[in-house]
Each structure stands twice: as structure tokens, then as C-alpha cells.
Amino acid sequence: MATPVRPGRPPQIRIRRQLPLSPWLFAAPGLLVVGAFVLYPFVSTLVNSFTDRRTLLPGHFVGLANFRELLHDDMFWTGLRNSTLYILGVVPALVVLPLLLALLVRKDIPGITFFRSAFYTPVVASIVVVGLIWVWLLDERGLVNSLLESIGIGRIGFLSDQWLLLLSAMAVTVWKGLGYYMIIYLAALANVPRELHEAAAVDGAGPVRRFLSVTVPAVRSTMVLVAALSSVNAFKVFSEVYLMAGPTGGPAGEDTTLVMLVQRTGTGLTGRVGYASALSVVVFVVTVALMLLVLRADRREDA
């Protein structure tokens, strides 16, 4: 039935400008997932960090007691130290080495795809497999030590010394991460205009100069991204250290990282969920601070 239209007036088109519900309906599935797997765990961790909750026993509100305990917990400081050292050891290597690798493998020479895939293989390999392989290699009687002994250096306790263990784990992280960041750099390098290189070459710049004056500025924002990603990952390191240093986190737990400490404190039937949550909150705060720091450094350089 057509509504009677009065002559002289344009027909009224009725569009409701705002349907308060429908956009939310569209977003609901995504929101539900985010709510259930991101927001809820986050809020619940935050709440738990102020309680003395145990795995099987409901907690009571204890205010800042968990955080106060943290300050006096030697293991927390050990964890913080190791996680921080991990950033210092791993990030510079992961910012620079993959870039050099990317420069190497972007050359169009026969068989280069083989090398590209080869460098990428560690990324796809399972960290558990990789960890075990390195444990075998670095064992007191492993391949590496046998080689060292045969050339007269003698055996080195890679897996029994606190610092060598941490260094070995860092080496595995770097080795495993190279391929991933190499791909990111390859994409960035493809965007560097060839003319810039040509112009620089015409002006008499050698390869090193061209690298520093053309390539590096062109991929700088990618370097910042890599630094941000790798530092957050380094701070949250778990698997490498857990696999190589064992569940105890190295001799006397001296190689424990913060995330390992969260796992050890908070899991199992007698897990201290409240205290582990407080630890997680600290990890979160530091991670966010790290991101902000890196991004800020980037902005300052832009200005």
C-alpha cells in the first residue's frame, strides 16, 4: 500500500539514523571471543593479584601484600634480572643480523631460494624440538664439546654454568628468530627505491656507505618494529630457558626468567594463583613500558 503523498512536498524517506543495537550485533562474535580470551583473563588476573587465592582455595583480598612480597623475593629479582639481560643480549642481535641476512639473500643468484628457505626453517620448527637438539649439541658429552676437546680447548659446561646457560638460550632465540625477522626486512628492502642506490653509487658511495646512508634510513621504521617485537618476546621468554636449563631454571634457579617464575608459582594443585597473578601484572606493566619506550624513541627520531 502506498502512503498517500501530498502534492508539493518531497516524499519522506524514513531512515533511522541510529540503530543502537545492530552494530553491536555484528561485532558480537568478535567481542565475545575477545571478552572471553583476552578481557576476562586480564581482568581476572588483575583482581587475583590483590588476593591470596590458591589453585583450589578461594582467596581473600590482601591489598598490596603480594606486591610487597615481590620486593623481598630474591627469585623475583633473579627473574627480572634474567629477563632484562635477555633483552640486552637478544634484541641488538635480532635487529642487526636479520638485516644483514636479508641483504645477502635478496641477491638474485641461482639457488638463492634454497638459502632463503634454509634460514627460515628454524622459525617453523617446533621450539621443543629445537631446544632438545641444542641440549644434545651442548651437552657435556655432546657434539660441540667433543669438537672443542678434539681441538684442545677442553669441555665447556654450557648447560651447567649459570651464565653460559643463559647465553646458550639467547643464542637459540637469536638463531630461531633470524629467519622470521629476515622476512620482515626483505619486505622492507623491496620498498627501498633502486634509484637512491644508483644515485648514491654515482656520487661515489661504496657498499658500506650506501648501506649506512641509504638502506638503514629506509628500513629504520622496520628496525623499530623489529626492536619492539623482539624486546617484548625476549622479556617474555620461557621455552628456550625452560628446555635448556630445566624446570628448575638452571643451577639453584639462577636462570629463572619472570615468566618461568609465574609458571612455577602459579600452577599445580598447590599453585599460588594470587602471587603468580601479581607477577604477571608486573610482566605486563614492564612489557607495555617497553613498547612505549621503543615507539617513543621512534617518534623522537621522526621529529
Binding site: G35, L39, L56, E140, G246, T270, G271
Partner: protein, 428 residues
């Protein structure tokens, strides 16, 4: 289109509220009365047994269902790794199976959370079927009651590599019998091999302290006491071994698996084990198997260590009579005996260890180990205190490592470990 803050808050609450209900479990179901009719669907969870004993458990379940028509048992199995985590996740989510394979240290936190049925109340009539010590194995200090049926027991000898003993000038026919002999042999082994062959591969655990004769807890079970003179003495002697490389340099980070591997490859001369290991030696290290020496666990108390497995009934089960009946069925003398004949474990039921299977030799190594273990089990002790949690084990291990590295004196290290364990105990 900006959404009002109130609407956002409402959305968040709507998302979060239904979820927060999952965590608390709920107190529905579950009665302690096991006298009703045995019927209903129950779930039974074992700990890493499917791979090798599927047919045994399938048969067990079928027998039970035949004996009690109207029951249905769903059998599930969990891998060895992360079993405690699986239990805690299930317990927190309220999805703990009706009948669960546990060990005493696992049952303690579950009992404290009210999730384990007190069998003194619900199944006291079965008590006399089990060895007294085994029944008491699942009691929790500070609580009255017994929280699991005793299931299988295990203990094992000390294996040693005769070839390595020979090479070090030790008499392979006379393995060490006392701690003094053990430590002396270990030092000689290290000296003769230039520090390349260690005799022990693991740092002392709470169980080792117990076996050495250290008092682990006070009588009331309210505080730990392993920092006494005897404890300090054991740790001091281990430090000597560590310095001489008679204790493997990687012992501080070793796991039972990694030290087992070292024994297989001849890097370590002795390793504790069970009858299960003989098979492993035969398959993976034939040359070791030819030289394998078997001797008794070393102890200064006269009692060897044993591991106890139990079967717990979930206090929130909807079918208490069926769950209790099944837990008893799994652990009764007949079924334990037939399980023991399939695998190198030992029954916890009264009289079963007197069966000829556990007393008569037939000339094989397997039988020798089995008969010796069964004999020692009659007076064996589960040294690990029921209340010694994972977190406490870590604390002890870290302090022991500090003492071995010389960063702390043995006395200081044990004082710290006892302090940490006591703090954790009070938080429970």
C-alpha cells in the same frame, strides 16, 4: 559512533559475569553415603597407563559393568607430564572425574579443598583388605580421614654399571651397601676416571634426606625439620662428591630422564630405578645390559623408599555408590594381583606380597629384582611428606644447589629451605 560508557560497562559485565561462574565449581551433587544401589555413569581417570595397559583396563571396566548392571564406566587416561596441572584445571572447573588415580602428595591439596571423599567414613569396611601402611598412605596431616584407596606400590633397586666399576678398580661383585661405602666408591670412581665418570647423577631430594635418616617434619606435622645435624651431614658429603665430580656436574639441572640417559651412555655409574628399567636397558643399551649390576637401595634407616599410588573418589560425584564400588574394585586383591603380573608393580592389598609370584626365584634378572623389591616393600616407607608440595621441592632443590656450588654453607642452605617450606606450609 561513540558508545556511551555505561553501555560499554554493561557489555563488559554481560561478557564477564557468566564466565566468572565457571571458576567456583559449585557444591551440587555428592553425598558421602556409599550404601545405595551401584548404578550410573562414572568416569575413571588413570595416570599414563593407556599406552601399555589398554587391554587390562578395558577388561577391568567390562568386568565391573558386568558385575553391576546399570553402571557405565568411561575410562580416560592422562599423560605423565603435567598430571598435577590437569587435575588442578579440572578441580577448579568442577570437571574432576568421579574416580581418579592419585599419589599422596596430589591428594592432599584436593582433600583440603574438600574434593576428595573421606573413605574412612564411606568405605571403612574395606580397610582390612589393605596393608596398614598403605591405607595410611593417603591420610593428610592436620586432617582426619583417608582420602584414597591404596593402589599399586613401587620401589626399586639401585642399578650399577659393572664395567665402570671394574675400570675404576672397584670390586663389581661388591657394590656399596652403606652410605660410607657409596661415597668412598664414588670418590674413587671420579679419581680413577679423571672426573669423567660420576657415580651419582641427582642432587639429594627430600626422599634422600629421609632415607639417610634425617627427621623431615616435627611430630605434629606442622613444621619441617630436615635442617638438623644429620641433614647438614648429608649435604656436606654431597658437596664433597660434587667438588670431586663424583656427583655429575650437570646434576644441578638434571631430571630423572636426563640422569637415566646418562646412565645408559656410561657417563654415570649408578642409577636408582625399578624393574621396569631392565627392559629399557635391554632395548636401548645392550652393552650396558650385559654389565648391569643390581643392588639394594642404600638406606641408613633399614627401610627403603616406596612410591604409593592411590585411587581417589571425587566428593562431588553424582553416583557415590558406583564411584566407591569401582575404586574398590580397581584396587581389590584380585585385580591388583592381575595388574602386578602385567607390569613390574606391587599390590598394596594384605597378603598379596606372600604370593609365590613375589617370593620364588626362577633364575631371571626380572624375578630377582621383583622378589627383592617385594621383600623390601614389607617394611618400606614413603619418605616424601604428603604436604611437601612442588613449590617446596623447588625451594629445597635451589638451596641444595647453592650449597653444592659453595654459595652457601650446607647449614645455611637447609635453614633457608626449611624456612621457605614452612612459610608455604602455613599459607596452605
Amino acid at each position: 559512533m561513540p558508545m556511551s560508557r555505561r553501555a560499554l560497562a554493561a557489555a563488559v559485565v554481560a561478557l564477564v559475569l557468566p564466565l566468572s561462574a565457571c571458576g567456583s565449581g559449585g557444591d551440587d551433587g555428592g553425598s558421602t553415603d556409599a550404601s545405595g544401589k551401584v548404578e550410573g555413569d562414572i568416569t575413571f581417570q588413570t595416570w599414563n597407563l593407556r599406552a601399555n595397559f589398554k587391554s587390562y583396563f578395558d577388561g577391568l571396566v567390562a568386568d565391573f559393568e558386568k558385575k553391576y548392571p546399570g553402571t557405565h564406566v568411561k575410562w580416560i587416561d592422562q599423560p605423565a607430564e603435567g598430571y598435577a596441572d590437569k587435575l588442578s584445571a579440572d578441580a577448579a572447573a568442577g570437571t574432576l572425574p568421579d574416580v581418579v588415580n592419585v599419589s599422596p602428595d596430589l591428594v592432599a591439596p584436593l582433600a583440603k579443598a574438600g574434593l576428595a571423599l573421606d573413605l574412612d567414613k564411606s568405605a571403612g569396611k574395606y580397610r582390612s583388605e589393605y596393608l596398614d601402611g598403605a591405607w595410611a598412605g593417603h591420610q593428610v596431616p592436620g586432617m582426619s580421614g583417608t582420602y584414597a584407596f591404596p593402589w599399586y606400590l613401587n620401589t626399586g633397586p639401585l642399578f650399577y654399571d659393572k664395567a665402570l666399576f671394574d675400570k675404576a678398580g672397584l670390586d663389581a661383585a661388591k657394590p656399596p651397601k652403606t652410605y660410607d661405602e657409596l661415597f668412598a666408591d664414588a670418590l674413587q670412581m671420579a679419581r680413577k676416571s679423571d672426573g669423567k665418570v660420576a657415580t651419582l647423577a641427582n642432587v639429594p631430594t627430600i626422599e634422600d634426606f629421609g632415607r639417610y635418616g634425617v627427621t623431615l617434619m616435627n611430630k605434629q606435622g606442622t613444621a619441617f625439620a630436615f635442617n638438623d645435624a644429620k641433614g647438614v651431614e648429608l649435604l656436606t658429603r654431597y658437596k664433597e662428591l660434587y667438588d670431586a665430580k663424583a656427583l655429575d656436574p650437570q646434576a644441578l639441572t638434571a631430571t630423572p630422564e636426563s640422569s637415566g640417559r646418562k646412565f645408559l651412555t656410561g657417563a654415570v655409574a649408578m642409577n636408582p630405578g625399578s624393574a621396569l628399567d631392565l627392559d629399557n636397558f635391554k632395548k636401548n643399551a645392550p652393552s650396558l645390559y650385559k654389565n648391569i649390576g643390581i643392588t639394594d637401595q642404600i638406606t641408613s634407616t633399614g627401610h627403603v623408599n616406596m612410591y604409593v599410588m592411590g585411587v581417589m573418589v571425587n566428593s562431588r560425584t553424582k553416583h557415590t555408590p558406583a564411584a566407591v564400588a569401582f575404586a574398590h574394585f580397581v584396587t581389590d586383591a584380585q585385580n591388583q594381583m592381575s595388574f602386578a603380573k602385567k607390569v613390574a608393580i606391587f599390590p598394596s592389598t594384605a597378603g598379596s606380597l606372600d604370593d609365590p609370584y613375589f617370593t620364588e626365584q626362577d633364575g631371571t634378572d626380572e624375578t630377582r629384582v621383583r622378589v627383592a623389591a617385594a621383600k623390601s616393600l614389607k617394611s618400606a616407607v614413603n619418605y616424601t611428606p604428603v604436604l611437601f608440595s612442588e613449590q617446596m621441592k623447588t625451594a629445597l632443590r635451589n638451596e641444595v644447589a647453592k650449597a653444592l656450588q659453595g654459595k652457601e654453607s650446607p647449614k645455611k642452605a637447609l635453614d633457608n629451605a626449611v624456612g621457605a617450606a614452612d612459610r608455604l606450609l602455613q599459607q596452605d
